[in-house]
Amino acid sequence: MSGKHSRRLVREELRRIIELCRAVENKGLNPFRVNVNDLIAVIRLYFPRLEDPEDLSLDAEALNQIASIIKMQSEWVKRRATSLYRDPFLIEEKLRRLSTQDLTEIFLKTWHPIVELEQVTIGSLRMAMDYWESLTPLSERWKEEEFLKVMTERTTREELVKQGFLRDEAFLSEIEKIWMELKKDAGSEGKIDYWDFIGADSYEETIERAYLTSFLVTYGYASLEIQPLEEKIFIKPNEKPFPKTSSQPVSFPISVDYERWREWRKRQRE
């Protein structure tokens, strides 16, 4: 037998093993019908003749499929040992012979459907109305960008700030302003609850303050004190802005969602 011919036979044999294992798995047949020892003997016999990477990969796949069969055999034994196990052929026979009405009556004795509600409540309506009132119209949120054809010309400092190429002095002065405010609010304790500091009468203003506060921490004007067990976050002003260190910066996300703001405002009013 030529080498080429023999290699083709080996490949066919390995493919046959793979297909056999797959069929047993997909059809849910008894995995003990597969003689694992015989299959392993075949693989062992052919393995020394394999050189081609494609053949080696077929060999690995065949071994993997045999491993799946062994796993199925283990599960089969476990299942037979459980109290739920009954002969599947007996059950199938009953299912074929029972009338629709009998089957339904049996099922109704074992069926306890879930009871659930899908309904709008007064509370959720009120919340939705509040949200709707504070929602900016689409015409403002999705303002269409107008493209203008312009000639090249010298740019200005203001234009660069607007485009984000230069840092805005006004923004820095905003940061310094809120830093002063933080120092004042922190008082003798030297710290203030994060929400008490950023919270404002409107949600938009709260978001703006949270945004500026995040820069306070990033630029070293203040630091956060997190108490995970009490689920509290405090913000502490620094006497002088700390310069950035070379260590890896740590990011700490704080969710400033609408619901949380409503709860905070309600507590403030009480």
């Binding site: 997909n26 059809k27 849910g28 599960e75 089969w76 299942r79 109290s83 739920l84 009954r86 002969d87 599947p88 007996l90 059950i91 199938e92 009953k94 299912l95 074929r96 012979r97 029972l98 629709t100 009405q101 009998d102 089957l103 339904t104 009556e105 049996i106 099922f107 109704l108 004795k109 074992t110 069926w111 306890h112 459907p113 879930i114 009871v115 659930e116 509600l117 899908e118 309904q119």
Partner: protein, 192 residues
């Protein structure tokens, strides 16, 4: 006097928690109905198992019960707090249903029998069966066009799951609603 007011305060607290627990479990907030134990702990505090027991007792009078489905589908006699935190709580009917109740629940007799056949067959095969086998079993008594429609409904409602190899499995809803052992026992006991 102080003891009595303390007792009234505790009673009021539990009454409030009972309402909150009922709302949490009854209203669907996720894809699946019901609520996880850790969510109840977050909203009701660490003694939520006691609140759930009280709610179960309260629901008894109107034929409902709180069903606890543990993560590994086991049913421990004395579950630990960790097992309860990971479990899912549903409200289900406590009593058995009769044929006359079925229509009010939006199920036709054929559809429910088809569901019983599909579930029993998959349970008998160890929790997994090829879709083709289930289909051929259903086609014996249900018109072909209806079989496809029914299987889609069972899959959509969470009674069944299907993988990419067209194998059907029991879905999340079976653990909450169906007494699998009783179903198999009743089927085998039934005299034809």
């Amino acid at each position: 006097m102080a003891k009595a007011s303390k007792r009234i305060g505790r009673k009021r607290r539990y009454a409030t928690m009972l309402k909150k627990a009922a709302q949490l479990i009854f209203y669907r907030r996720h894809i699946e109905p019901g609520v996880k134990g850790w969510e109840l702990r977050k909203r009701l505090g660490s003694d939520y198992p006691k609140v759930i027991a009280l709610l179960d007792e309260y629901l008894r009078s109107i034929g409902l019960t709180v069903k606890t489905v543990f993560e590994d589908e086991s049913s421990p006699e004395n579950p630990t707090i960790d097992q309860l935190d990971k479990a899912r709580f549903y409200i289900t009917l406590r009593e058995e249903l009769g044929l006359e109740d079925m229509k009010f629940m939006g199920w036709r007799i054929d559809d429910l029998a088809g569901l019983a056949v599909s579930l029993a067959y998959i349970i008998s095969k160890g929790g997994k069966a090829p879709r083709k086998d289930v289909e051929s079993l259903l086609k014996m008594k249900i018109p072909e066009w209806r079989v496809e429609m029914n299987l889609s409904r069972y899959l959509r409602m969470g009674y069944l799951m299907e993988d990419e190899n067209e194998q059907l499995y029991l879905g999340w809803r079976v653990g909450a609603e169906v007494d699998q052992k009783k179903l198999i026992d009743l089927l085998l006991e039934y005299e034809i």
